[in-house]
Amino acid sequence: MRDVSRSRRRSPARAAGDAGGSNSTTTDMAQKQGSEHNGASGSIEAAAKGDAALRRDLLREMLLIRRFEERCAEAYAIGKIGGFCHLYIGQEGVGVGAISALREDDYVIASYREHGQALARGISARAVMAELFGRVDGCSKGKGGSMHLFDRNVNFLGGHGIVGGHLPIATGVGFAIKYRGGDQVCVCFFGEAAVNNGAFHEALNMAALWKLPVIYLIENNRYGMGTALERASAINDIAERACSYDMPSEVVDGQDVLAVRAATMRALQRARGESIPTLLEVRTYRFMGHSMSDAVSGTYRTKEELEEHMKRDPIVVLRMMMEQEDGWTDADMSKLDEEIKALVQDAWDFADASPEPPLEALYEDVLVDTTS
């Protein structure tokens, strides 16, 4: 399903052969790299596909997110979760696939639809649910809520609520990695609507200009709230925007968790080895409304379209593959599902029992008292 489109469209000047030829541009390097690790791509594919144990882990992560989000919808309906709440159902393959390829010391930063990435990165379901409930044991002590999940212990840099706002921050994390001479990578998740925002352009331009180890991962779920991609972007193949920055890019099937994992591994290799950023356009679909106040199909998409996309549920796609390759059975699935449901129930119970933040917390953490 993978459509590798790395720099397939080049700038007019380059297409006309005006590039000069003496400089090794990022694109040239990336293409060279691409061809160089074509030989190694087999090993990346194999590593991405993993073994039965890895695939079971990926399935488990996706199922955890699915069941967690279903309970969030329930909690929201009865007022245990307030504010805005954007669910990740349908997109699980993206967060799970990409984050599964990372090292512990890499960084993850995300937008406001980030419950899934937070769980995939290893913030406990208890801490995430407690945060959503606005309780003191939440991963942000109840002060961030659904859109602002943070956990320093797993290098999860948030939960950011302004569309596009965290893209320059990811560039800054990449800058800091390079400044220190490290080999970590920052993966930045955002929706396709953010590419129309000036911050996208500013962030990617600097990352390419300075060669920073950042993966900009577009979760193209086709709608910015209720506005379809075609109604918002002059270019519909948005990965092509990467050519503005001479940046490697790839279009990835987001419903195939293994494809996302493989594409991320390729991008990681570029980032770690050569400090070259990548733009990944991961095509996915959200099975729920934009937020809890948006009906599932809404006024902007048809029920038929939704049902068509739901046929490629990332959990089902992997499960079917596991049935063929790993002898995964319905009984295995039921057992896993029961385990996950119990885990999510435990998270709910934990959150429900966690106290509200003490009123003294109101004025805590506005500023720190320290200097260096």
Binding site: S140, F150, A176, E202, A203, M206, V366, T371, S372
Partner: protein, 327 residues
């Protein structure tokens, strides 16, 4: 004691702090090869190299966000805006990211960083380049805001700002860069954040002010002295957190207060100062607090109109006489 310019005082602060801590770096437009649009960073590229003195594209939102990201993972960025007028494009990062990340992460991510650059009007730069932004910035919880008015304070406050583990806004003055003052050579100059200073002692009326307006207050005080009126000047130096004790002490001594600011009147920082005085110093007051500020118009280009729009010594003198019931 050495007499140096405000510009060189800032340069010294930047260099000393970058020598002291290799996590500190300077980023902005024209800070490196060009040596700074106002030459504040003169010589720094040569001293520290291009990884620590970073020229950016003209991309204020972008590089402000780069600073935020770098601060989140432990560097200590100094983000220079060529002027605060251009920083308007970056306010999302300043307000939504730098100021709030500590709070909304439940205390996990301190943001040790500085945003600095010239603030306020210079001469005939017209409407888009002549604005004082402190009222906007001091409004935001999670930011500290300083506005040095002298070379000594410029050096001392910038050094403290760089060492502080919070995001600190440093409002410099284009018209101040060439002003000179005493800054000791062989001792560490550090001015603690949050401490005002009485720049001139007086008994009859208090000018509460900051930044470039300290010069205007001085001119006004000189003129008043000729009429045997002793004005006291309280230079807040830090707007957020505001040194309320210094204000209260001065007002309890003079019983009359004039708040002098460079920006517009509506929701201006001076209104916040006046609010504090009426709440906490009510019994000390012998007259209502009067504010001096820019006229509430975009800054005009024509010399005479610009002069009329700006707060100046004449307006400050008139305000002092008003609270003394002399006019």
């Amino acid at each position: 004691m050495a007499i140096i310019t405000y510009r060189d005082a800032l340069n010294q602060a930047l260099r000393e702090e970058m020598q002291r801590d290799d996590r500190v770096f300077l980023m902005g437009e024209e800070v490196g090869v060009y040596q700074g649009a106002y030459k504040v960073s003169k010589g720094m590229l040569q001293e520290f190299g291009e990884m620590r003195v970073v020229d950016t594209p003209i991309t204020e939102l972008g590089f402000a966000g780069v600073g935020v990201g770098a601060a989140m993972v432990g560097l200590r960025p100094i983000i220079e805006f060529m002027t605060w007028n251009f920083a308007l494009l970056a306010l999302d990062q300043v307000v939504n990211s730098a100021a709030k990340t500590l709070y909304m992460s439940g205390g996990q991510y301190p943001m040790a960083m500085v945003f600095r650059g010239p603030n306020g009007a210079a001469l005939q730069l017209s409407a888009q380049h002549s604005q004082a932004w402190e009222s906007w910035l001091a409004h935001i919880p999670g930011l500290k805001v300083v506005a040095p008015g002298t070379p000594y304070d410029a050096k001392g406050l910038l050094k403290s700002a760089i060492r502080d583990d919070n995001p600190v806004i440093v409002l410099e003055g284009e018209m101040l860069y060439n002003t000179k003052g005493e800054v000791p050579e062989n001792e560490e100059v550090v001015v603690p954040l949050g401490q005002a200073e009485v720049k001139r002692e007086g008994t009859d009326v208090s000018f509460i002010t900051w930044g470039k307006m300290v010069l205007v207050a001085n001119q006004a005080a000189e003129q008043l002295a000729k009429e045997n009126i002793a004005a006291e000047i309280v230079d807040l130096r830090t707007l957020s957190p505001m040194d309320v004790d210094a204000i209260a002490t001065s007002v309890s001594k003079t019983n009359r207060a004039v708040v002098l600011e460079e920006g517009w009147s509506v929701a201006g920082f001076g209104a916040h100062v006046a609010d504090f005085i009426q709440r906490e110093c009510f019994d000390d007051l012998d007259a209502p607090v009067v504010r001096v500020h820019q006229e509430d118009v975009p800054m005009p280009y024509a010399k005479n109109l610009e002069r009329a729009a700006k707060p100046d010594a004449k307006k400050a003198v008139a305000a002092a006489k008003k609270v003394l019931y002399l006019e």
